[in-house]
Every structure is written in C-alpha cells, then in structure tokens.
C-alpha cells in the first residue's frame, strides 16, 4: 500500500502528470478522483434526483477529468477544476432535459417569462450584477444565481439554501425576479 491516501492533492496532481500512463501515475490519478467521488455524485444527484443517472454522470465526470488531467496545470485547486467539469456536465444534462420537456416550468407564467429571458441573457453582465447587489438580499442573490447560472432545479435550491418556508425557493425567486425587473427597468 502506498502513501497516496495521505498525500496532498497538489502532490498527487504532479505525480499523475509526471508519470502519466504508468501504474504510479494511474494510482495517483485514481486516488485524486476517489477523494471527490462522493462530492461529484452528490452534486450530479442534486440536478437529476436519480441514483443511476447521477452515477452515470459522475462516471463521465471522473473519466473526463482523468483523460484531461494533462491539461490541468495545477495553478488552481484540483477540487475547483473538477467542479468546473462537474457543473458543465450537469448543465448539459439540464439542457437536454429542457429540450425533451420542451418547456421550462419556471417560464410558464407569461408575466415572468420576459424577466426570465432578461436574466438568462444578462446573467454574466455588469448591469444584472449591480442590480442584484443593490436590491437583493444574500438569499435572493444566491437563489437567482443557483437557478440561472448554475441551472439548478428549484427544489434543490430550496434544500441547498435550507429554506423552511412552505413554498421554498419558488417564493424567493419570484420576489427576486420582481425586484430585478424593477431595478433593470429603472436603470
């Protein structure tokens, strides 16, 4: 048994890259991925709420991370690099789901559809960021970003933000949308 289990991520990354393709490199990569397998699975599960599907997605993430480990230059933490791959995989899954259902239930109400579109388009823009910091409280900001940037299902936002209210994140999102709509129209 090697000392891999007690080795810091950074050293394992170096070992995996320096000995790529050899048993030592594969063992280092395996240990790195083993450390985060629970996190990756649970993150995927939050999006799809299905064990088998989340497991498939987690396997894709693991394999993708392993195949691309040569590109990881070690300037960032391995966990945040893996997080990028996992969230990308989850985004793609959510997009496919949305296409299959052909409708986003959050956008059904027509009076909310236009502000939803604007938030979607402006999620990376300075105006939305400024408006959000000015008019939304911390919970509302997180709910908006989890929904529109992380594309997380509403029920999961309720759980992750530990919202006890009966209508959970749905009510928080509705309130935040109204505030943002007013703020963006005033601007």
């Amino acid at each position: 048994m090697s000392d891999a289990a007690s080795t810091p991520d950074r050293e394992l990354v170096e070992r995996a890259r320096a000995h790529a393709g050899t048993p030592a490199g594969r063992e280092a990569a395996g240990e790195l991925l083993r450390r985060y397998r629970r996190a990756v699975y649970l993150w995927c599960f939050r999006y799809v709420r299905d064990h088998e599907r989340a497991l498939d997605m987690a396997q894709d993430v693991m394999l993708s991370a392993y195949q691309r480990m040569g590109e990881f230059e070690g300037r960032a933490a391995f966990s945040s690099w893996l997080f990028v791959i996992a969230r990308n995989r989850c985004f793609n899954e959510m997009r496919n789901d949305a296409r299959r259902e052909d409708v986003d239930l959050e956008s059904v109400e027509s009076d909310e559809a236009s502000i939803d579109d604007r938030i979607e388009k402006e999620i990376q823009g300075r105006r939305l960021t400024e408006a959000a910091s000015r008019v939304l409280d911390t919970t509302e900001q997180r709910a908006i970003w989890l929904r529109y940037s992380e594309r997380m299902p509403v029920d999961e936002i309720t759980a992750i933000l530990k919202l006890d209210h009966k209508s959970g994140a749905r009510a928080v999102l509705q309130r935040a949308r109204r505030k943002l709509k007013s703020a963006l129209e005033e601007a």
Binding site: R37, A39, Y66, A76, S80, V84
Partner: protein, 210 residues
Amino acid sequence: MNECIPVDQLGTMKQLDAEDPRRRHASSCPRCSSLLFAYEEFTRAEAVEGANPVAAEMQLARFIEERVEEKAPVRNSGTPRRGRWFDFSGLRMAAAVAAVLLVAVIFWQPWQSKEIVYRGEASVQFTGLRATAASDGSIDVYWDAVKGADSYRVTLLAQDLAEITRLDAGNTLSAHLDSGTSGGPAPYYWQVTALADGAEILTSDPQRSP
C-alpha cells in the same frame, strides 16, 4: 465584472488573506459570492435526501479501479467479490468470444441494410474535438455533428477559462481562429456549443489549444 473570480480559481479563495482584493470582491459581488457558495456546497458533499452515496462511492471506486487504475477485477482474494455466473479464462474465453461472434453475425446480418433507429435523445458529449495549429499562430478547430443541432458557436477562453470572445460557426463543423481572435497569449482554450433554433443544447468541455 473584470475582477470577477474565474470558476476554476474558487478553490484558492480560502488561502487568501482577508484583506486580499479578490477576497473582498468575492464577498460583495453577487456572482462571485454565489459561485463560491455553490463550490463550497460541492466540496462539503453533504447528504442529499433520496441519494445513496454509500452505494455510489462503492460503485465509483470500482469504476476508478477498472477504468483509471486499470486494475483487473480481483479474483481469489480474501474477501470474495460478488459472484459471477461465469469465469472467463484461457480456452473458455476464446470459445465464448467465438460463440458471441457467431451469434452476432447470424442475427446482425451485415449483408442486409437496416434502418438506424435513434432514441430521439441528444448526445451528451461532443465527439471528434480536435485542433490543428499553423505556423502563423492560427488554429483550425473541428468537431463532429451533434444530433438535433442546426448551428454551432465557438468560444475562446483565456488561460483562467474567462471568456475572450465568441464566433458563430453557422452549420459548419469547423472554425478558423487566428492570433488576433484569441486576443491573449497561448495556450488558450476553446469550447464549442451546439445550438438548435438559437437555444444551446450541448457545450463541450474546454479544449486546450495546440
């Protein structure tokens, strides 16, 4: 937004001094504080109702062992694995492969053309992603068609994965990126997004330029 923290740098935030401008920015910027919150949730890996992390950890450990570490499934060890009804080895393996091939040829009937039936689901991963570099610093990038897509968009990313620019590739399966387009020093990254009626249906992982 210029000082916003790239997603793959979130893991370094805790190591920064409390007075570091990046950390102060993260606490006041809705985008960065929310992203940081999401990343910390990811690393915390708290139990989620309905999930089965114990079973998942076992299955993923086996997956990593077999696909990454390339270790053969353990046999005759002190703690036996769940039983398999077969045990391929030597001649039995060869006989089994021959039998499978025979059955496949009989039922597949490769000499008859068959209609391909799709399940109607979009691909979940891009395939055929590759890039070739020219001596003038430009690169050509290529990808395979994605079922259901009617156009593609190529996004250039800096070394920290921040977006530099986007190019509409129309319905072609390649794009030419010159050094002026990249806007920054190599290596940079590129990713391609498949679109249908203007809506994004699939985005590749970032690919490093050659």
